[in-house]
């Protein structure tokens, strides 16, 4: 049975209205608590923000690459669109304060608005790219998405309003760990809800066999474009968040390399597995960042830290090759963590179902 199946109902069911937002009600205090605990440690906040952004990117890319089986390698392009649009909006509205609200609150509201604008801009780009190119088969689509990402970068590099190659500086640093992880949670929730819905089933069908799906009455192009737009929206959100906690964004942050990084996370986690994408992105972000900071902290020698950064890229490449040769389904395949755990730790297994 596919992981997208809703689990058999256990225990008392929640009222219909609460069930929809129940996970959020649960998540907000938890993330808030985490923010309260480590919020005054800038290093941890920074690292966890990076991790959160990568989780959003990986989980959103997984909707296209994993669930729908379309291979997009231009995710950084959508991220760039989101980052620049949201960043530009915040730069323009930096001095605004919404009346009747304290400054910090007003800033957060503006941040959410900026993120939504950035996400929508990215989604529109996703639509523009997706509509024509998703009629193409796998490898062509890969190249077109790659080309699209590059075109975005070149356009940013040539636009005066976006600071050309220098990028945008001075974007207000409104983002917080809470904001990043809230959005990460929303992304995961959306991805899981899609996977379990009839919409998701169509996506899985397209992934397994496009021709067969078409024959069963799935409007493949429409579903693919929709998946693409949703994925682009969250990539834009990730970009917007990113723009609000790094001091400067420039086209160099959104190259092909960034796209491949996200692809590696999705592939390593297992194409189609949301929890796999989460775990892989957390690990693949923490390892190099952690090693780098650890080396810098211990020896105070920036050179070793730099070396770690250098060696990361060839290792990503090798990791892809080795994964494909040894375990092409990635960490979890299309399954989720809770499908895999009982098999790894079989002691809680109940009697025959």
């Amino acid at each position: 049975m596919r992981s997208g199946e809703p689990p058999a109902t256990r225990g008392p069911r929640l009222p219909y209205r609460v069930r929809g937002i129940f996970p959020l009600l649960l998540a907000i205090p938890v993330i808030g608590l985490a923010q309260w605990l480590v919020g005054d440690m800038p290093f941890i906040v920074y690292i966890s923000s990076i991790v959160g952004v990568n989780v959003i990117l990986a989980v959103s890319l997984n909707i296209v690459n994993g669930m729908t089986g379309q291979f997009s390698i231009g995710h950084a392009g959508f991220m760039a669109v989101g980052a620049y649009t949201a960043g530009k909006f915040s730069l323009e509205s930096k001095d605004l304060v919404i009346s009747h609200l304290p400054t910090t609150m007003s800033d957060q509201v503006l941040l959410v608005v900026a993120l939504l604008i950035g996400g929508s801009a990215a989604a529109i780009c996703g639509f523009i790219v997706g509509l024509p190119s998703l009629r193409l088969r796998g490898d062509y689509l890969a190249i077109v998405t790659l080309g699209f990402g590059e075109i975005i970068r070149v356009i940013l590099q040539n636009t005066e309003a976006f600071g050309r190659s220098l990028g945008l500086a001075g974007i207000p640093q409104w983002s917080s760990m809470f904001m990043v992880w809230l959005w990460a949670f929303i992304t995961v929730l959306a991805a899981r809800r899609i996977a379990g819905s009839s919409h998701g089933r169509s996506l899985w069908a397209i992934r397994e066999d496009e021709v067969a799906a078409e024959a069963m009455g799935v409007n493949t192009t429409a579903y693919k474009v929709r998946a693409f737009v949703i994925s682009a929206f969250f990539a834009g959100i990730a970009g917007g968040l990113f723009a609000h906690f790094v001091p400067i964004i420039n086209p160099g942050s959104f190259t092909f390399v960034k796209s491949i990084e996200v692809v590696v996370m999705v592939v390593a986690g297992g194409l189609g597995s949301t929890t796999g994408a989460i775990i892989a992105s957390v690990l693949l972000t923490l390892l190099p960042e952690g090693l780098r900071s650890a080396f810098t902290a211990i020896s105070g020698n920036a050179e070793i830290a730099q070396r770690v950064d250098q060696i990361r890229m060839p290792i990503y490449g090798l990791l892809l090759v080795i994964l494909m040769l040894v375990r092409p389904q990635g960490l979890f395949g299309t399954r989720e963590l809770w499908d895999v755990l009982p098999r790894w730790f079989p002691r809680h297994r109940r009697g025959p179902a």
Binding site: F71, I73, I143, G147, V267, M313, L318, M324
Partner: protein, 306 residues
Amino acid sequence: MADFIQHFINGIAAGTIYALVALGYTMVYGVLKLINFAHGDVMMVGAYVGYGTALRMGPAGRGSFLGATLVFLLSMASCAALGFAIERLAYRPLREKPRLTALITAIGISFTLEYGFQLNFLFLPGAAPRAFPEIIIPTEWLVIGDRDVVLWNWQVLSLAIAVALMVLLQYLVFRTRFGRAMRAVSFDHRIAALMGIPTDRIIAITFMLGSALAAGAGILYAIKDTVVQPLMGLYVGLKAFVAAVIGGIGHVPGAMVGGLLLGLVEEFVVGYTSSSWRDAVAFGFLILILLLRPEGLFGRVTAEKV
């Protein structure tokens, strides 16, 4: 007018290099239906081997015909070996797997080569660009007016080499036993195997041929650019792929025409606007082609069989 002619010459010169790399893409795609993402990086390795060889030869290698030939041959041979190794280790085990798997592997290899060559470790050269020795002393082959239009000897040479290689390839594919076997594998490799064609060997040789062509292109590119650097293959590879698609992927003369066309379009757009748009031109062109004529200029439409 002089401007126009100069851009035309530069465009053809850039186009020949795209064309040579595109030939490799098209051949590999023809037999394996795989976009060999690492092809541009094989070209980069070829340029580095050429750089190393020319450096070892010292002044003897500068501008001598024998030296240049040696540089070309050595680099093509080592890239053929690299191509063989990549095919054997990374692509062959995945041949019966879904195509996405091979595509991901190809991206992985490309990434490994690009960033592996940026390390300073053992024989690896490091990220800094290196000046390529002048194995061909650049001289003006043809000058019109008061240096309004300059045609360099290496531009003529690279066009000549590219055309010669293409003719050779065309002969190989359509007039030899090997070529017939290659076309059979490209048509259907399972049936070809049943007919007694050693498909594995044919595919390996195709890879080696394509990689050798890429090495030649790499040296020509290094002569044109005067430097070698680890990321040089990234964009050339992608653009050459675009060229192959424009010509109709799998079609040998198509790749040549596509390469020249792309070189010209790029040069004209860059020449009359700004050089910072260079990298966007090819991809814009690609998207246009895929929308209007996805099978390319010379390709045939193939229906997807169930």
